[in-house]
């Protein structure tokens, strides 16, 4: 029996060494290693062997099989590699199989960035209707009827007392009507202005507005919050200034300018050679606004701010015509 094992091993290794291609190798496998091959036959004979020899014979058989198998695998691998090298040259510089690439509109990207900063400060997103009544859009925000301040925002009317909102500020009123202080609301949304469409103005645009109401809120805190925002958004090295301005729903009111990042404050077309860029309007909530939502102006103070998202996106990406934002040309969208 031991001899038979040795003989088979020798003949197997001899045949393996002469198997020059994968076909011959497969032939070898069937002949020796398959379920009905010569090695299996020899295992079958084991049951006829004397019981006392069985353990030793079994061990020898197993060793023989392992040795042949491993040499077979090694040879097979070698032949396969050789074959691959001989086959067609694989050009790995071919382009990968790309899927379509999506993109987020620059207006959304800009809003997302603004949102990220204010949500981190504890503001929460609130929304409201675009079709708004005169009271929420004007009256409650301290725009008296027959007041020239209404001319600051050219209005689309739906009916006598229903308008397309001209700013996101009516949502301030809606938030305060339904909630009690403290309030920290961030209000993004679409607004409408009845202005001739040009490179600088479109009939609609997007604003994001903030409202913070609590006891003892000061103008100094308003400045602090907006400076923190501007430094995160525009970079910590910017210089800023707050200028007095006028909005009916805030007093004192201000506009915030930052140093023009396009020309490094040297003066350029975009900053009209002033070195400053106006980025937002803000102010302390006017006591009349608190009165219209039944907040006690003696108890609460607050601040509000708002900015135009298109304007900021245009500055950010160097876009000089607002209309391109609404054309949605794929060649434009692909750049973002």
């Amino acid at each position: 029996m031991h001899e038979a094992i040795e003989t088979l091993k020798r003949s197997a290794l001899a045949e393996l060494s002469t198997s020059g291609d994968l076909q011959a190798l497969e032939h070898f496998r069937i002949s020796y290693l398959a379920r009905k091959g010569q090695i299996a036959e020899l295992f079958d004979k084991l049951k006829d062997a004397p019981p006392e020899q069985k353990p030793a014979l079994g061990k020898a058989l197993n060793e023989m099989r392992r040795s042949i198998e491993s040499q077979f695998e090694e040879k097979k691998a070698r032949l396969e590699t050789g074959q691959k090298k001989k086959s067609i040259h694989l050009d790995l510089t071919l382009p990968g199989l790309r899927p379509w690439v999506g993109s987020k509109h620059p207006i959304t990207q800009t809003l997302d960035e603004i949102k990220r900063i204010f949500l981190g400060m504890g503001f929460q997103v609130e929304t409201g209707p675009e079709i708004e009544d005169d009271y929420h859009n004007f009256g409650a925000l301290n725009f008296p009827p027959d007041h020239p301040a209404r001319d600051m925002q050219d209005t689309f009317f739906i009916s006598n007392d229903v308008v397309l909102r001209t700013h996101t500020s009516p949502v301030q009123i809606r938030v305060m009507e339904t909630q009690k202080p403290p309030i920290r609301a961030l209000i993004p949304g679409r607004v409408y202005r009845n202005e001739a469409i040009s490179a600088r103005s479109y009939c609609l645009f997007h604003q994001v507005e903030g409202l913070y109401v609590d006891t003892n809120v000061t103008f100094a805190e308003l400045k602090g919050t907006l400076v923190a925002f501007a430094k995160q958004f525009y970079g910590s090295s910017l210089k800023y200034r707050f200028r007095p301005s006028f909005f009916p729903f805030t007093e004192p009111s201000a506009e915030m300018d930052i140093t023009c990042f396009l020309c490094k404050a040297k003066g350029c077309r975009v900053c009209k050679n002033t070195g400053w860029l106006e980025i937002l309007g803000c102010g302390m909530v006017d006591p009349n606004v608190f009165q219209s939502v039944n907040y006690d102006p003696e108890m609460y103070t607050g601040y509000a701010f708002g900015m135009g998202i298109e304007r900021i996106a245009m500055l950010r990406y160097g876009i000089d015509d607002i209309r391109i934002l609404f054309e949605n040309d794929i060649r434009f969208l692909s750049q973002f």
Partner: protein, 814 residues
């Protein structure tokens, strides 16, 4: 408005450079939007003296001149016929830019440099009025008078060296809408004094009372009316200085009388109006409301129809002016005018605003009256203008002023709390600090016996400060004069947490998923034309005052806007489309059913929608794969994957029973049993309307419905303990039977161990009967208790097949 610095200097000494002044005004709330340096056009132009005129050796029409430019004598070749020795002329030196090139058909400017003209050196140019943009004369050079200072900068000689500020004046500050108003602010900023103009007025002995009467019928809308009368007014062109001031700020000179009223308006901010006295019936002024429907022709020669609300200036018989807005044609100052009645009145702002809005006329006068003029400056403005009329038009001024002012307006008093001021601003100013600041802008503190409180001070505001009524208005002034930049920047956050539970912004999640799936986000106009809005709903919302017909309604579907975008992109060569939008649509509604969070105004409803459009190739062109055109199943599959991603289990696609207005061959999408949108192929006639020639597939889904449908809490399901068994079957059914019906029948008969049913192939053809299809389906079985044996599965599959045979006449393909 435009402010001339030369003009401003009449009232206040400008101790700082113009740029510094501009900065200070900006920081005080008067934003300088632009600075125009008038003289910059005439940079490198001087007044020259012609010393010699010699013939050009090679050209008859040219002369070679020697010109003294003050610092040197230069040689200039000149083509003008009128050049002569001794003339004072405008000379452009090398580097100067000639505003109008006479030899260029478009008159484009050109820069001067040293040139040779027919072989002779020329170091400059003697200019015509036309070339300098100073007139139409192009036939010869301009010749100045003999006293013109040789070497003087041309801008200075011409009086065009002014600097003009474009000042943005907020609607709450009408008092600053004049040169003196700005001078007051400048004085406060520079710590100097602003002085009102000084003038002398000589009245005749004849009393005005004998020659005119003034009667106010509507004292509510006209609290004050002052007037003067003057005779022998010589109407002519204004002197140059007056014209220059008006031109500098963009006003067109008319005649001296009109120019003077405009000058005083821009000087003091108070509108005046001059009537031709001889046209006034009964020499009487009556202020009253118009008759409803009355016709009246204004100075601009337009006939207007008035309402009963319009405040009018009338004479003894008829209307002669729309109060505070525009005068009438019938009493206009003309060159024939001899005698003048000059009006200086104060009108109620709201009344003027209503009239101006109603008539659609906005004038320098109406803008000031509607924001609020100063009732107490009428007689001063009147006297100032009268003195100028006397000086410049030789007017003989009747003695006295008719001044009807039944209830004089007194300065307002506002109590101010020091503590409150500091609490609002975050400052720590003392009472003295505050009163000193306020004093600079003429807000005076007055001792009050009523309020002994140390914290409080009574502030009196002059009547020109119409914006100051409440404490907060004074606090704003404290902040403004103190300087916003001097208020500390408090970075400390006063942490009070907002208790309102935040709404999750679901749109962001949708957006991120679709972008990851290769879709590009668009932002479209939410306004459209009425026809488009009406296609998808009869309850569309119309805009009462649209910009144009294209935007006369609000959209009732996001798809038409999307189709416009698709069309434009195809037109520009981007034919493979995967776009989406998240945007609102708008309806009128009678029901309260649509009480969703973004619909607040009764009668209107708005909803956020997700729109998706696919067209062109399904995948980018690849080097080893055949490109394939997008089909409806690409978009449907995209939605299925999206719903799966949202863990939205309860959805259903139901093929259209009737087509919708934009798409045919599509499916209605039900979310939690509620119809919530559709996916389909754009109808041929719609494609034609949008001029699109390739198939477009669209989906529109209600975002609130998506939000509701997904409100399912996820709980963990243990993973199967035993392996699943897969069994593939090919089932032959009638073509008319839908795969969904087949799937449902399998599901019904499959029992609890059948976990998944997956269609992986459909075959039609020779190997099976006509009118039939073979659906290859993979069934997955799994048990929680054991590894399933072949025999168990065989039994289930057999019972499924039996059921299919009975209910659908299906057979197993062999």
């Amino acid at each position: 408005m435009k402010i001339s610095l030369k003009w401003l200097q009449q009232y206040v000494e400008l101790t700082v450079a113009p740029e510094d002044l501009a900065h200070r005004l900006t920081m005080a709330g008067f934003e300088i939007e632009d600075i125009e340096y008038q003289g910059s056009v005439y940079d490198k132009f001087v007044v020259g003296e012609v010393l010699e005129v010699n013939k050009h050796p090679k050209a008859d029409r040219l002369t070679v001149c020697k010109v003294n430019t003050g610092t040197e004598v230069v040689q200039i070749v000149c083509g003008a016929p009128n050049v002569a020795v001794g003339q004072r002329v405008p000379v452009g030196l090398s580097g100067a830019v000639i505003p109008h090139n006479q030899h260029d058909p478009e008159g484009k400017p050109f820069a001067l440099s040293h040139v040779k003209l027919r072989g002779v050196d020329s170091f400059g140019m003697i200019c015509s009025a036309h070339e300098l943009g100073l007139g139409d004369d192009k036939d010869g050079i301009m010749v100045f008078d003999a006293h013109a200072k040789v070497g003087a900068p041309l801008a200075q000689y011409l009086g065009k060296d002014d600097i003009i500020f474009e000042v943005g004046i907020t609607p709450n500050r009408p008092d600053a809408m004049s040169h003196f108003g700005i001078a007051r602010e400048v004085a406060a900023l520079l710590d100097v004094k602003a002085n009102l103009p000084k003038f002398q007025l000589k009245e005749s002995d004849v009393s005005v009372q004998q020659h005119a009467k003034i009667l106010i019928e509507d004292t509510e809308n006209c609290p004050r009316y002052s007037g003067r009368v003057m005779f022998n007014v010589n109407v002519a062109d204004s002197p140059k200085w007056l014209q220059n001031y008006l031109l500098a700020i963009g006003l067109r000179p008319v005649n001296n009388v009109v120019d003077i009223t405009n000058y005083v308006l821009m000087e003091l901010g108070h509108p005046l109006h001059a009537f031709d006295y001889d046209t006034l019936a009964g020499k009487t002024i009556v202020v009253k409301r118009a008759k409803q429907g009355e016709k009246f022709t204004t100075l601009d020669h337009k006939e207007r129809t008035l309402t009963g609300d319009t405040l009018m200036i009338c004479d003894g018989e008829r209307s002669i002016g729309v109060a505070g807005v525009m005068g009438g044609e019938n009493t206009e100052i003309t060159h024939a005018t001899k005698n003048v009645l000059l009006e200086s009145a104060y009108f109620n702002p709201a009344s003027i605003r209503r009239t101006s809005k109603y008539l659609g006329i906005s004038t320098d006068a109406s803008q000031r009256f509607e924001r609020g003029a100063n009732p107490n400056v009428t007689t001063f403005a009147l006297d100032r203008a009268t003195a100028l009329l006397q000086e410049l038009c030789g007017a003989k001024v009747l003695k006295g002023t008719i001044d009807v002012y039944p209830v004089p307006v007194k300065p307002k008093r506002v109590p101010l709390r020091i503590g409150r001021t500091n609490r609002v601003l975050g400052t720590s100013l003392t009472k003295d600090d505050i009163t000193t600041l306020l004093n600079k802008i003429e807000l005076t503190s007055i001792p009050s016996t009523n309020s002994p409180s140390r914290d409080e001070v009574m502030i009196e505001a002059p009547t020109f400060r119409v914006d100051i009524e409440r404490e907060i208005d004074v606090i704003e002034e404290v902040a403004r004069v103190y300087g916003y930049d001097n208020i500390q920047t408090d970075a400390r956050a006063n942490l009070s947490f907002y208790e309102h539970p935040p709404k999750k912004d679901f749109s962001d999640e949708i957006r991120d998923w679709l972008i990851g799936r290769g879709c590009k986000e668009v932002v479209a106009n939410s306004m459209c034309d009425i026809e488009t809005a009406a296609v998808t709903s009869k309850d569309f919302v119309e805009v009462a005052n649209p910009i144009s017909k294209d935007m006369a309604a609000l959209r009732t579907s996001t798809i038409p806007g999307m189709l416009n975008i698709v069309r434009n992109n195809i037109f520009h060569g981007s034919k493979d489309i995967r776009l989406f939008e998240i945007g609102r649509i708008y309806f009128k509604t009678n029901s309260q059913a649509h009480k969703n969070s973004d619909s607040f105004v009764p009668g209107y409803y708005e909803e956020n929608r997700l729109a998706i459009a696919f067209s062109g190739l399904s995948n980018p062109r690849h080097w080893n794969e055949q490109p394939r055109q997008t089909t409806l199943f690409d978009l449907k599959g995209e939605l299925e994957a999206f719903f799966c991603k949202l863990f939205l289990d309860n959805y259903k696609f139901i093929p259209y029973s009737t087509d919708n207005s934009l798409t045919d061959s599509g499916l209605v999408i039900h979310l939690s049993g509620k119809e919530s949108g559709y996916v389909g192929k754009i109808r041929p006639e719609i494609m034609k309307r949008y001029e699109i020639e390739q198939d477009v597939f669209v989906a529109e889904i209600s975002i609130p419905n998506l939000e509701i449908a997904r409100e399912c809490e996820r709980t963990y399901r243990p993973l199967p303990k035993y392996p699943s068994a897969l069994r593939d079957v090919a089932i032959v059914i009638d073509e008319e039977i839908s795969v969904e019906t087949l799937t449902m029948a399998i599901r019904e008969s499959g029992g609890p161990l059948l976990k998944q049913i997956e269609l992986f192939d459909i075959y039609r053809g020779n190997q099976i009967a006509a009118g039939k299809k073979s659906c290859a389906i993979s069934l997955e079985f799994n048990s929680e208790e054991q590894t399933l044996a072949q025999e168990q599965i065989d039994t289930i599959v057999t019972s499924i097949l039996n059921h299919l045979q009975v209910t659908l006449n299906a057979s197993l393909r062999t």
